[in-house]
């Protein structure tokens, strides 16, 4: 009797956080991380990046929590700088990408058959070429460096979201409640802003949030390969590619902590995007 009663009780006590709480926690963590990044980039900036040949290749210690590199630079300062740079690039690239996707998606779905064919073909074209090759080419055309990386990442990340938004609008356009709205005397513009856009808003926000880690990873990837930011900037990609030379000498902290920081940031925004997608959908919001 007793054991029967306590079983479901203990279950509900042990229940994990629900999705809303989980999402709020992730948002709080992400906000803290961003704050630390921005603050750290401002305070630790110049001092930590200076060369100090007396403290070369030191493993993590109290004075240098993430160790120092072969020129005696503080790895904590470099990692923070690198992440804040990555964050800026990711934000810009994902934002512009999402905007391009919205414009092209709407144009394809509402702008007539010919425009639709052209845009769909463009999407297929961009999806058919490997991202990394395309980013390198575009970055090269734009003269490399920061603007090259941003242009490269921006111009390769819109197709998937465009396709999603186009399909969404196509489906909505012939939805029963949209047809009814037109019969009730509402104009096309009214229907677009009141019926279509609210349906696209979550897709757009989630699309943007999921683009963001992608953009950061690709920025790090092409910088790692040497086609992105200049080696003088403490980008994560630069730090990782430089540390490769010292890994065999046993300096594991050079790659481990920056890599881990990148992973944590990317994964956090990934989780945030996924959770928001589920919360925004009225069908799964109450699960």
């Amino acid at each position: 009797m007793n054991s029967v009663n306590t079983l479901p009780c203990r279950n509900s006590n042990r229940r994990r956080l629900n999705r809303r709480q989980h999402t709020l926690l992730t948002i709080a963590l992400a906000a803290t991380l961003l704050f630390v990044l921005l603050g750290g980039a401002l305070f630790l900036g110049e001092e930590g990046l200076s060369v100090n040949l007396n403290h070369r290749n030191m493993p993590p210690s109290l004075a240098y929590p993430l160790g120092t590199d072969w020129l005696g630079r503080d790895m904590l300062a470099r990692t923070v700088q690198g992440l804040s740079l990555s964050f800026g690039v990711g934000l810009t690239a994902a934002g512009i990408s999402a905007f391009i996707a919205l414009v092209l998606g709407l144009a394809a779905a509402l702008g007539g058959k010919r425009l639709d064919t052209i845009i769909t073909w463009l999407v297929d074209l961009f999806l058919a070429v490997p991202h990394l090759v395309l980013i390198i080419l575009i970055a090269f055309v734009f003269g490399g460096g920061l603007q090259g990386v941003i242009a490269g990442v921006t111009l390769t990340h819109w197709p998937a979201l465009t396709r999603l938004l186009r399909a969404e609008v196509l489906q909505l356009r012939s939805a029963e409640f949209v047809l009814v709205s037109r019969r009730l005397g509402r104009s096309r513009w009214w229907v677009a802003t009141r019926h279509l856009l609210p349906h696209l808003k979550p897709q757009l926000l989630v699309g943007f949030l999921l683009l963001f880690p992608h953009a950061i990873l690709h920025e790090a990837a092409i910088t790692f390969l040497g086609f992105g930011l200049s080696p003088h900037r403490p980008a994560i990609g630069v730090i990782l590619s430089e540390s490769m030379h010292y890994l065999s000498a046993g300096s594991w902290w050079l790659a481990f902590f920056p890599g881990l920081a990148l992973l944590v940031m990317v994964r956090m925004f990934d989780i945030l995007g996924d959770n928001l997608r589920l919360l925004y959908d009225p069908r799964s919001a109450r699960e």
């Binding site: 409640f177 009814v180 005397g185």
Partner: protein, 201 residues
């Protein structure tokens, strides 16, 4: 003054013909029943008359004129699936007031609970949603009402309540109605004349 379908033919894409050379006329104040087996084109005909679809051949006219392309359509359709006819991201109050602002007495007659106005569509049953769709379609500009299996998903008492409210409004304003149903008794009870679509076309 009548709502007319003149030599209307229709098929979806290049599929088989669903309606061929169909003629139909509904006068103001007249309630016409439409019966026939499943798949014979009852819903399609209703959608054609309300300009949700365009006929492949023939015309739909109101007072001899084609239906207006924009603005409030004088022919309103109440469909069989209310859950598809309301925006899932709108609260019911917004849906109810999309075309005009219905008065309290109509809401009362249709049995719409004031509590429901603040709810989302997925928090109401199909029968409850249908009442909103009925209220929404009875705007001042409505002259013809097409009820496509309007009360099929409701229990008998609620059916009676909604039909009484609708028929009273229809009588007051001399609305023309087309009632589609598999319920023979309902059609016989409320309609002035009956069309069997299986034999008509």
């Amino acid at each position: 003054m009548p709502l007319e379908a003149i030599n209307v033919s229709f098929r979806y894409k290049s599929g088989p013909w669903i309606l061929r050379d169909l003629n139909l006329s509904i006068l103001p104040g007249e309630i016409v029943g439409l019966t026939g087996p499943s798949g014979c084109g009852k819903t399609t005909l209703a959608r054609l008359l309300a300009a949700f679809e365009r006929p492949e051949a023939g015309r739909i006219t109101l007072d001899g004129q084609p239906l207006p392309a924009s603005g409030y359509c004088p022919v309103q359709l109440i469909s069989q699936h209310p859950e598809q006819a309301v925006n899932p991201r709108w609260q019911m109050l917004d849906t109810l007031r999309e075309g005009y602002i219905p008065d309290e007495s109509l809401l009362l007659a249709l049995g719409i609970n004031n509590e429901w106005l603040k709810r989302w569509p997925n928090e109401l049953s199909a029968g409850e949603l249908q009442r909103f769709c009925v209220a929404r379609a009875l705007g001042p500009g409505t002259r013809y009402l097409l009820a496509d299996e309007m009360t099929t998903m409701l229990d008998a008492v609620t059916q009676a309540q909604i039909w009484q409210a609708v028929l009273r409004v229809a009588a007051e304003r001399r609305l023309g109605m087309l009632v589609t149903s598999h319920d023979e008794k309902l059609i016989q009870r409320i309609c002035h004349r009956m069309i069997d679509l299986a034999n008509a076309s």
